[in-house]
């Protein structure tokens, strides 16, 4: 941008300026500060804790005056976020003081369940609530059928997750379902295919010089977001060499707007582009020969495969990107080292997600960016103090070995660790067995999973459902009992992020204010259940601290002295160790694998036929839901930064600036290319139906220059129907009209392969 265009952009309605100015006319401030005894510093406290609005769980500090939390800042002790926080963390205040939170355990009195049906909540005491839940839990164990208990886990602290999985193990159910199966798993399994680690990778943003982001909106939905935002400033202007960022995405996101180059791509063809880039790098011998030679396996077959199939010309036809752009990007990427290729939800949440993730990840190996400064690194997690193995009595042991409701690890989803979106079918069809009771821990899957009405039906069918949540979320709407849990500013916990900066960092959660209403923390609820259930469950929870505070104290004792941890809020591990190639790769060859030996052996164990192709990075045209003739466009849900990931959006500060690129909030839009809108004779601002083969939704149209012509982009985060004066009935939820599809390897839901048509409402 040059000066002239900038001035043009900033042209607002003008007015001439008079010559005379009142300068320093009045020296008294508009009102004098409230000075008299209003700032009683004795009452002011700064408390170190950590955020929980997304899984990054950054370290924060709260300014608390007279028992009221009034300001959130970053914690300078955290090297991960360098004392900074993202905008969402500020909104923690509104999460805490949300006027629509619930204060008491609520019991449902209407039998019928469904959207818009008033459950007629009746408050009850905690003692009654505990009694009722144990009345349902106990028979499951007495009948030796603990596996018929289903647990949903949404966004919880790491300590909460630890307590929940301990409860599941002690009770004897294998059915602990997290939300990871919606948006994390294919990326992980793609990495696992190459290096044997089934986890999210971290990126060494301190030293990288080039970022090639495939569908990754790192400034909006990147994790950990604060680190990406902080390092963005550093990468651009705080180092002698400015890092170049290239964003590949069918949609012009904030990240694309802020990057150096935006390359719009035909949706679902990122794997082809990655292989096209590889073709250029290999044919021009720009790859890191040393790393390839010593630490990779299967390069020759990969090389032959790529060279024979993915010339820039072929890839250009698939992706719609000019072959010069592919060549230029490939050369820049391989010559500006260290460089990172990172895949995000936009490129990976497709039916072939694992393969796409593998194809993108292999680019890092080509340029030697694996476990080096400025490359892809391997997150180390804090080592909390070991809990003694939980007591698993005979009932629990038998329950645990039952097949899991989500078919993980079967020939349907061979590599899967969790298949979240399979649960509704399992409940509705009673396979492999009937669910008798379910408990949700801050989960809201009937908002966040594709095909939401299946979830509604399944939740309706559950004989008994308890939801633990600070508010009556969409999922709680179907509960028989809602237990008010504390928000992250009112509870004890320890936390770390699934991936951040390589070295380990643990953060404390401590109550900055006393819990509002009669809410209780999830961990305390579990301790109480364990006590009341007795037997093996009670024994498993006997020597690990007694309550949430004791539990955190017990588990973090191995890290640092308690008082210091309370004060600092952060424990940092040793510096990151690079180039651990000797023992890094968890693959059959103990090397980085272009041809995945892990997948091959897994598939042969499942007695599945494997072609050579299956284990090599390849591009396969995506299976779309809906015929092209009838549904010419593709629905592309996206996550804006102001989408809160705790299951609620009832926060005015987030709502009013929800879509910065559109300059609006409180709503979302169907964004389509202006040419496409012209062809469909649709005008900006009018209401349209967006219809998939499954459902349709009415939404306002936005003509945009930043959307691929074959795409309808709709943000997620709106369309709440259950509660909240600042969210209920605003906007639409694109997940409602999505079809259901999976990545066959990891079982992750695909979000982007549903076709739609758009017409005037």
């Amino acid at each position: 941008m040059n000066r002239r265009t900038f001035l043009k952009l900033s042209a607002f309605t003008g007015a001439a300026v008079g010559a005379s100015q009142m300068t320093g006319a009045l020296d008294t401030p508009a009102a004098s500060p409230l000075s008299k005894a209003t700032q009683n510093t004795d009452d002011e406290k700064w408390i170190a804790t950590s955020c929980l609005i997304c899984p990054a769980r950054c370290a924060i500090r709260l300014r608390v005056v007279n028992g009221k939390a009034i300001k959130v800042t970053g914690n300078p002790s955290s090297r991960v976020s360098e004392g900074k926080i993202c905008p969402r963390a500020h909104i923690g205040l509104q999460v805490l003081y949300d006027p629509d939170r619930i204060a008491f355990p609520l019991k449902r009195t209407t039998k019928e369940k469904g959207k818009g049906i008033d459950p007629k909540w009746v408050p009850m005491t905690w003692d009654q609530a505990f009694e009722e839940v144990t009345r349902y839990l106990r028979p499951l164990r007495e009948k030796a059928q603990p596996h018929r208990l289903l647990l949903f886990s949404g966004l919880n602290t790491v300590s909460g997750e630890d307590a929940i999985s301990r409860f599941a193990a002690a009770f004897g159910t294998p059915n602990l379902i997290s939300g990871d199966g919606l948006d994390c798993e294919a990326e992980k399994s793609g990495h696992w295919m190459a290096d044997g680690h089934y986890s999210n990778r971290a990126y060494d943003l301190d030293h990288t010089r080039y970022i090639l982001a495939f569908g990754a909106d790192i400034l909006e939905s990147g994790r950990p977001l604060t680190r990406f935002l902080r390092k963005w400033g550093k990468l651009r202007r705080e180092e002698p060499n400015r890092t170049k960022v290239v964003v590949i995405n069918p949609r012009y996101s904030v990240t694309a707007a802020k990057s150096d180059e935006w390359i719009p791509i035909q949706p679902g063809t990122d794997a082809a582009l990655a292989l096209g880039v590889a073709h250029v790098i290999i044919s021009e011998k720009l790859y890191d020969q040393n790393f390839i030679h010593h630490w990779t396996e299967g390069f020759d077959s990969y090389k032959n495969w790529v060279l024979s199939q993915y010339s820039p010309k072929v890839v250009s036809e698939i992706t719609g990107i000019p072959s010069e752009a592919i060549q230029r990007t490939a050369r820049e990427f391989s010559q500006t080292r260290p460089a990172i290729a990172l895949g995000g939800m936009g490129s990976i949440n497709w039916p072939e997600g694992s393969t796409i993730s593998h194809a993108i990840f292999c680019l890092n190996a080509l340029v030697g960016s694996v476990d080096v400064p400025g490359g892809v690194i391997y997150q180390v997690h804090p080592k909390y103090r070991d809990m003694a193995d939980g007591v698993q009595d005979e009932i629990a042991r038998r329950g645990k070995i039952q097949p899991c409701l989500d078919f993980r690890g079967t020939d349907r989803f061979p590599a899967a660790k969790v298949v979240t979106n399979q649960i509704p079918e399992s409940i509705l069809e009673d396979v492999p067995y009937t669910v008798e009771m379910a408990i949700g821990f801050n989960s809201n899957f009937n908002m966040s999973a594709p095909g939401t009405q299946r979830w509604d039906e399944a939740l309706k069918k559950l004989p008994y459902f308890v939801q633990i949540s600070p508010f009556v979320s969409e999922m709680a709407q179907y509960a028989d009992l809602v237990l008010p849990s504390t928000t992250f500013l009112e509870e004890w916990g320890y936390d770390h992020s699934p991936s951040e900066s390589g070295y380990a960092e643990a953060r404390i959660k401590q109550p900055v204010v006393s819990p509002r209403g009669h809410s209780r923390s999830t961990i305390d609820i579990l301790f109480e259940w364990a006590r009341r259930l007795g037997g093996g469950v009670a024994q498993s929870f006997a020597d690990i601290g007694g309550d949430s505070k004791g539990f955190v104290q017990f588990r973090t004792a191995a890290l640092m002295p308690w008082e210091e941890f309370l004060r600092e809020g952060v424990w940092s591990g040793p510096q990151y160790e690079y180039k651990k190639y000797n023992h890094l790769f968890n693959t059959p060859s103990r090397k980085f694998e272009f041809t995945s030996g892990n997948l091959k052996s897994l598939l042969s164990k499942m007695k599945k036929k494997t072609g050579d192709l299956d284990c090599l990075p390849h591009y396969k045209e995506s299976q779309f839901l809906g015929e092209r003739e009838k549904y010419p466009l593709l629905l592309l849900p996206y996550q804006p930064l102001m989408h809160m990931e705790n299951g609620s959006q009832n926060y005015p500060w987030a709502q009013e600036i929800f879509l910065p690129m559109q300059g609006m909030g409180w709503d979302n839009l169907a964004e389509i290319n202006s040419e496409t809108a012209n062809a469909l004779k649709l005008r900006e601002g009018e209401e349209v139906w967006v219809e998939s083969p499954f459902q349709r939704m009415k939404v306002k149209l936005k003509c945009s220059e930043g959307v691929h012509p074959e795409v309808v982009a709709v943000s997620i985060g709106q369309g709440h129907s259950a509660y909240g004066r600042w969210q209920k009935g605003m906007g639409v939820n694109p997940n409602e009209i999505l079809g259901v599809d999976y990545d066959p390897v990891s079982g992750q839901s695909s979000f982007f392969n549903t076709r739609v048509r758009v017409y005037k409402a």
Binding site: M1, L7, L9, S10, F12, G14, A15, V17, G18, Q21, M22, T23, G24, A25, A30, A31, P33, L34, S35, T38, Q39, N40, K68, I70, G74, S81, P87, H90, I91, Y97, D98, P99, T226, L229, G233, R236, R237, Y252, V254, A257, K258, W262, L641, P652, W653, E656, I657, P660, M661, Q662, G663, M664, W666, D667, S674, E675, E705, G706, W726, M730
Partner: protein, 228 residues
Amino acid sequence: MPRWGMVIDLDKCTGCQACTVACKVENNVPHGSPEEQTSRREIYWNKVIAATRGRYPRVKTELIPMPCMHCDNAPCVTVCPAIATYRRADGIIMQNFRRCIGCKYCMVACPYGVRSFNFKEQESKEYQRQDRPPDRTVWGPWPFPTRTHGVVEKCTFCFHLIDQGIKEGKRIGEEVVPACVEACPANARFFGDLDDTRSQVSRLLSSRGSIRLREELVTKPKVYYLLQ
């Protein structure tokens, strides 16, 4: 006397809007509602605006954070008939709610659209904001625990933090900065004395080309933008 100014590096800016939220938190700026947004009656002291040009696929959107520009030659000050908006000796343009008669002349005069009129109905002279503690004594040095219906509001460069910082002998621009500068995760915003050549803002301005918005109007804004 210092002359306070702000530098915003658009190359580092991530368009995350942390400044907008932090400003609302610090200054108790009322949040809006869907109705207020439709009728353009929301109040922002620092909004991030998007300006787009070009056609697909050669499109470019600039995300520009817009605080008050605190012009040296401020049209709002010139036109105000009530001397409600005025410039302090340190260059901060202030708004005196008690003098403001709500004529909105300043809003018409401002070429940057950074002034908001408070249309909010007042209940018990205070907004019913659940997210803020009702005990107004805890709000620190902020002078407006209650807000006034029917006056014009705007960014003050967090003058209350600066005045307090000076009283405590702190280094303004380093130890004490406005809330938006403190909150910026990318460190894209800087605050300091434009007349002091050693200040960070002066050094930044001499290191790279910068622009101010609508310079041709000779308003002499004290908010500078560094370009990509």
